[in-house]
Amino acid sequence: MIVEWIWGVLAGVFGWLLSLFPTTTLPAWVFTVHTFTVDAVSYINGWHMWVPLDAVRVGFLFLMSCSALVLLVRGFRIALSLFTGGGGSAA
């Protein structure tokens, strides 16, 4: 109850902040490209007898995760280096 109430307050604040921005809609070409991409993915899925699609997907997601982690670590080290009073770049 308490947490839900806090969540509701935060959501309301967030909603108020967002209401300060102009509203817009996704352009139609986004859906067109999406549909085209879905068709392309469907076509690529037809290669499943010769291309290890599952492995490619998992490998790609793993590499993206590692890249994100690397960025986080580097960002943390850069931020930390601002408070260590020297020592050069930690990037």
Binding site: W7, P22, L26, V41, P52, F62, C66
Partner: protein
């Protein structure tokens, strides 16, 4: 162009030589030339002219020739169409005679495509195909009612007509040469000319210019051998009657030997100066549909959000009804943010005639709100009425109005306040309200919540959760076995909470329950909190970019998902249409159904998967190691 022209003539020479060797001595004024199959023979006009030949035998079919003026028409079998024969009467001089010419290059290529690709290697669905039908490019043994064609020699100016009688299901495109004058190539009659001064005209039976006999009609587009594309609009009729492509040839040294190539039944006719043949096989509309034609399932989903409507489609692999098992209906999913309004599965059988070629075998429509009948929202999906509900964030919830401090209470948050809502609603219907997200809907929509907030029996205690409340039928009737009234919660099978007493606050059970109620949020409560802010993230300026990126990239997360491992055909590539109103087939270049390919695929996939996993792991580990400096070189 010249080299091909020379090559085609070289091909003709051996045939001619063989024919001449077989020919007997020519009687004065009369010559008989017997030529073996194939049925395409090119005889330079000068040769026949010098022999004064008036007849030729092609294979076993007797051919007669009629010569009027300086032209000659050789008819094989059947009877030449009147229009074509009449056209053959015109000539401006020169001597040319030839019998059916198929063009070695085009015939051979067509034969290769039709035979080899349909039988082995790349999988092509050739439909239909039987002994009486020939795939485009094949030359059947006999051509009933087909008039032979005539080649054109370089600088030849004579006019010869070529016609076909398109009876049955096969025919040959033919060409007619006419003088390039006002009579044959008048302005405004759909005649075009290229830079060499050639004039083309299409003619069908019963119409001097662009006729259509019975049967289907096709547009013909011819390209000039030189100078780019020249379009000739003509009409090809096939099942009955005849049609003729008339090409007026002035005579140059650039491709008099051009021939007409039919790219497709409903497609284009192009010319090239490759060979001396004016004839090409046209694959006409098929006869009766095959008994067990190839079919596919096509699943289509209508996805909506506000005014946006899109269709998601997915096809299954090709299958035959005679197979022991058929592929399952393919799954479709809407793009994120759009809701599914209609789902249908069609059985596509291109070999059948309309409408049997496209049959809906299963369909589902989102049940619209009956309260919208007669309003502008009639039949609409909630995502069409309220765009914020398209992403599935809206939930049907029961509210009690104006209770504590005039606040509305969500019955799912405070079930005790709505315990008797079913019996109270009749007495005071305005007390309760049914909402879909933040939108009020008819109270009848919440009738399925009739028993949801009632106190459970001892048997139900401890088993029912907030996420799995008891439900009634949508009309409010209770299903069989519904729990009855409450009993003493202290009794039962030990799952009931302990009795409430003076010292209950010391009881760990109640302590835990109190803290749990106060601090542990429920999913429904979190959803209600988010919904109360009425935020549609994707319509806000900060969110639209992220939503757009999600829309564009999210399909790539589906790579490799939903793939039917038992489908050895892989993806399909459609073949161009060659018949008027039917798609003509598809090929499966990635198929691994035959033994060799299946074996290779069976070894390759695991090996390549392992390689991908290993290389991904090594790359990722290297990235992380570099970040923490673990791959620094060891000092010497």
């Amino acid at each position: 162009m010249h080299s091909r022209l020379v090559a085609s003539r070289l091909l003709a020479v051996p045939v001619l030589a063989a024919g001449l060797l077989l020919a007997g001595p020519a009687a004065p004024g009369v010559a008989t030339v017997t030529l073996p199959p194939p049925s395409v023979v090119t005889i330079p006009g000068s040769a026949l002219g010098s022999m004064g030949a008036t007849s030729a035998t092609i294979g076993s079919a007797a051919a007669t020739a009629s010569s009027t003026g300086a032209g000659m028409t050789v008819t094989m079998g059947g009877t030449a169409a009147a229009g074509g024969v009449a056209g053959a009467a015109r000539s401006a001089g020169g001597v040319a005679a030839a019998v059916v010419g198929a063009g070695a290059l085009g015939w051979g290529l067509g034969r290769f495509i039709g035979t080899n690709l349909c039988n082995s290697g790349v999988e092509i669905v050739c439909w239909p195909r039987d002994a009486t039908h020939a795939v485009n490019g094949d030359a059947p043994a006999t051509q009933p009612g087909v008039t032979s064609t005539q080649s054109l020699a370089v600088n030849e100016t004579a006019t010869t007509n070529f016609t076909i009688a398109a009876s049955g299901r096969a025919g040959w495109v033919s060409v007619t040469r006419l003088p390039n004058d006002a009579t044959n190539c008048p302005a405004g009659t759909g005649v075009s000319s290229d830079r060499t001064g050639r004039c083309w005209r299409f003619q069908g039976s019963g119409d001097a210019w662009q006729s259509t006999a019975s049967g289907y009609a096709k547009l013909l587009q011819a390209s000039g051998a030189y100078g780019g594309m020249v379009t000739y609009r003509g009409v090809l009729t096939t099942t009955t009657g005849t049609w003729t492509i008339l090409r007026n040839q002035k005579g140059t040294d650039y491709g008099d030997g051009s021939w007409l190539t039919v790219l497709g039944i409903a497609d284009r006719v192009t010319t090239s100066s490759a060979v001396d043949s004016w004839q090409h096989k046209v694959y006409l509309e098929s006869g009766p549909a095959p008994a067990d034609p190839p079919r596919t399932w096509l699943s289509r989903g209508q996805c909506v959000k506000g005014a946006t409507v899109s269709w998601a489609e997915q096809s299954s692999a090709v299958f035959y009804e005679s197979q022991p098992s058929w592929p399952k209906y393919p799954d479709v999913s809407c793009p994120s943010g759009l809701a599914l309004k209609r789902l249908e599965v069609r059985k596509l059988t291109p070999a059948l005639a309309v409408p049997g070629n496209d049959v809906v075998v299963w369909e589902w429509d989102y049940p619209a709100d009956p309260a919208d009948a007669g309003t502008p929202d009639a039949g609409k999906h909630p995502a069409e009425k309220w765009t914020e509900c398209a992403a599935g964030t809206c939930v049907l919830r029961l509210w009690k109005l104006g209770t504590v401090a005039a606040e509305d209470l969500d019955c799912f948050d405070v079930p005790s306040a709505c315990r008797d809502w079913w019996s109270e609603r009749a007495a005071s219907p305005a007390t309760y309200q049914c909402r879909y997200g933040t939108h009020v809907v008819a109270l009848t929509e919440c009738y399925l919540y009739r028993p949801t907030f009632e106190t459970a029996t001892a048997a139900e205690q401890g088993t029912r959760t907030e996420d799995d409340p008891a439900h009634a039928n949508p009309d409010g009737t209770l299903p069989a076995g519904e729990p009855g009234t409450a009993t003493d919660p202290g009794a039962g099978d030990g799952t009931c909470p302990p009795k409430v007493g003076f010292l209950s606050f010391l009881n760990p059970f109640w302590l835990f329950e109190t803290l749990k109620c106060a601090l542990v949020p429920s999913r429904a409560g979190l959803e209600a909190g988010w919904a109360s802010s009425a935020v549609d993230w994707c319509t806000t300026a900060p969110g639209v970019l992220m939503c757009a990126v999600d829309e564009l990239l999210s399909p790539w997360a589906e790579v490799g998902q939903g793939v039917d491992e038992a489908d050895c055909l892989g993806g399909s590539v459609p073949l161009p249409d060659i018949r008027p109103d039917r798609p003509d087939g598809e090929m499966h270049p990635w198929q691994a159904c035959n033994e060799a390919a299946a074996t290779i695929s069976g070894f390759w996939i695991p090996l390549s998967s392992g390689a991908v996993y290993l290389s991904s792991f090594l790359l990722g580990a290297r990235m992380l190691a570099r970040t923490i400096g673990a791959d620094d070189a060891v000092p010497a």
